[in-house]
Amino acid sequence: MAGFDPQFVMAAFDPQFLWNGLVVGSIIAVAALGLTLIFGILNFINIAYGDYMAVGAYFAFAANTQYDLPIVVAALIGMVVMAVGALVVDKLVFERFRSRSAIVLLVVSIGVAFVLRNLIRIVWGTGSRRFSGPIEAAPQFFGIRVLPDQVAIVVISVAILGGTYLLLRRTRIGIAMRAASDDTDLARIRGIDTERLVTYVWLVGGAIAGIAGILLGLDAQIRPNMGFTALIPIFAAVILGGIGDPIGAVAGGYAIGITQELSVVVIPTEYKPAIGLLLLIIGLLSKPEGIFGEATR
């Protein structure tokens, strides 16, 4: 199916694909930002992160369709629930393993993922859900179909990325987060209570995971395994950007989103998921410190 058919070459410059890629990239970028923040300080790969996204989306869904709250309010509820939820999971589980190796924590996070994902299935069933709102043909601008939801996704993403950037650059606590992500021991030597920072990071990272899940649900559907299946491109973004580097993660997110959407031009659609997988592998194998970022380990 693929090949150098002129039609495909044309399509490569189709701004529609670029716009779609930008939307998908925005979601991956936000999700990758939360993941890399958490990783930066806690130093373990949290497999359950995708399920945090799903939990955020499902709580927003419940607020939106089961309690008929406006989507904005519902999204805030989803964010808050997941911010607190991430902290609760930490207190219940991860905190007890803080002194253990990153590998043990990774396996523990698999257990957490099992629990969260299947609780979702028990509570909300296995089928897919949508936020309320009609489905309408998207208006066209310069030949690009642009949905209001998509615009919202891009705008909200930029707001969250900008807000987080300011938090990390301009506030004492934000700088401390970056400092602790650089080197926890040195942060402690400076008098920074890293356990308290960990609390803030779970709150911020959990909220970001929640909103990322909501944005994903807004663009696609809400499903119990939505986060798990999104995890590979998100990890790929984090790794391309250099683990623990927020700006790199965001850049990686956009790069992967756009690459993924453009990929259908040259490869059969059924291999679209391979893009994230390949980028993850290549990213880890070629430059562990990331293509856009700096080494932290």
């Binding site: 004492r172 650089d182 080197d183 021991d185 030597i189 400076r190 008098g191």
Partner: protein, 235 residues
């Protein structure tokens, strides 16, 4: 009463004990160098004092207070600032951010004043407040590490191999700064690979071997001792 008093401390990593009962004192305003072969436990000793490692037995007292089990994040509030050998700056942070973190324990209002004083001592930092720390040269990084540690104006500055990996000309600079800091009243406890140099600078030297303090004396005494010269100074 000494400023720092380490008594019979045992410490180590996991199952491995590195320090087997070490005694050490630092007086007010004194500069003390700890020397000894690789694996003698020099860094372990500093980490134990700084609260990054727990002392299994023994006590650490500072200014009359028992700080033996005080965790690392609280040590600084007692007036001790520790500059580790590796990663002693936050590489991803800018110079000014590193200094801000150095002043974490401080009220915001006092920051401007302190940063001015650090700039005076390390003018190289004033030129590049927004440079990412890890893009600076090794010597500049060492200056930043010390500068950040001095933000709180500590009573005791602990330095782990401040000259490691630096070119000879830069080593002179670093020791000059340390001398300077000590002269302005801050006590210094320093571990050095470069034993001769360290003993020359220090008021007093302590030789550590196999996790125990073997010799102690003024810098000159140790430098003059044939036994020490043969064993540890590689003459």
């Amino acid at each position: 009463m000494s400023l720092l008093e380490v008594s019979n401390v045992e410490s180590g990593y996991g199952d491995v004990l590195v320090l087997h009962g070490v005694d050490l004192t630092v007086e007010d305003g004194e500069m003390v160098s700890v020397i000894g072969p690789n694996g003698a436990g020099k860094s372990t000793l500093l980490k134990t004092v700084a609260g990054l490692l727990e002392a299994r037995t023994g006590t650490v007292e500072f200014a009359g207070e028992d700080i033996t089990d005080t965790p690392a994040e609280e040590i600084i509030y007692h007036g001790i600032c520790y500059v580790p050998q590796t990663t002693n700056i936050f590489g991803n942070l800018t110079v000014i951010e590193n200094l801000k973190m150095g002043a974490w324990a401080l009220e915001d209002a006092a920051f401007e004043d302190r940063v001015e004083r650090v700039y005076e001592r390390f003018p190289v930092l004033e030129d590049r407040p927004n440079q990412r720390a890890e893009t600076m040269s090794g010597g500049q990084q060492q200056m930043l590490a010390m500068g950040a540690a001095l933000m709180l104006d500590p009573d005791l500055l602990i330095l782990d191999e401040p000259s490691a990996g630096l070119a000879p000309r830069l080593i002179d600079d670093v020791f000059e700064k340390i001398r300077d800091i000590n002269d302005s009243g801050t006590a210094v406890l320093m571990v050095e690979q470069n034993a001769r140099r360290a003993l020359r600078e220090a008021d007093r030297g302590v030789v550590l071997e196999l996790g125990q303090d073997r010799f102690e004396g003024t810098g000159e005494e140790l430098l003059d001792s044939e036994e020490i010269a043969e064993l540890y100074l590689g003459s």
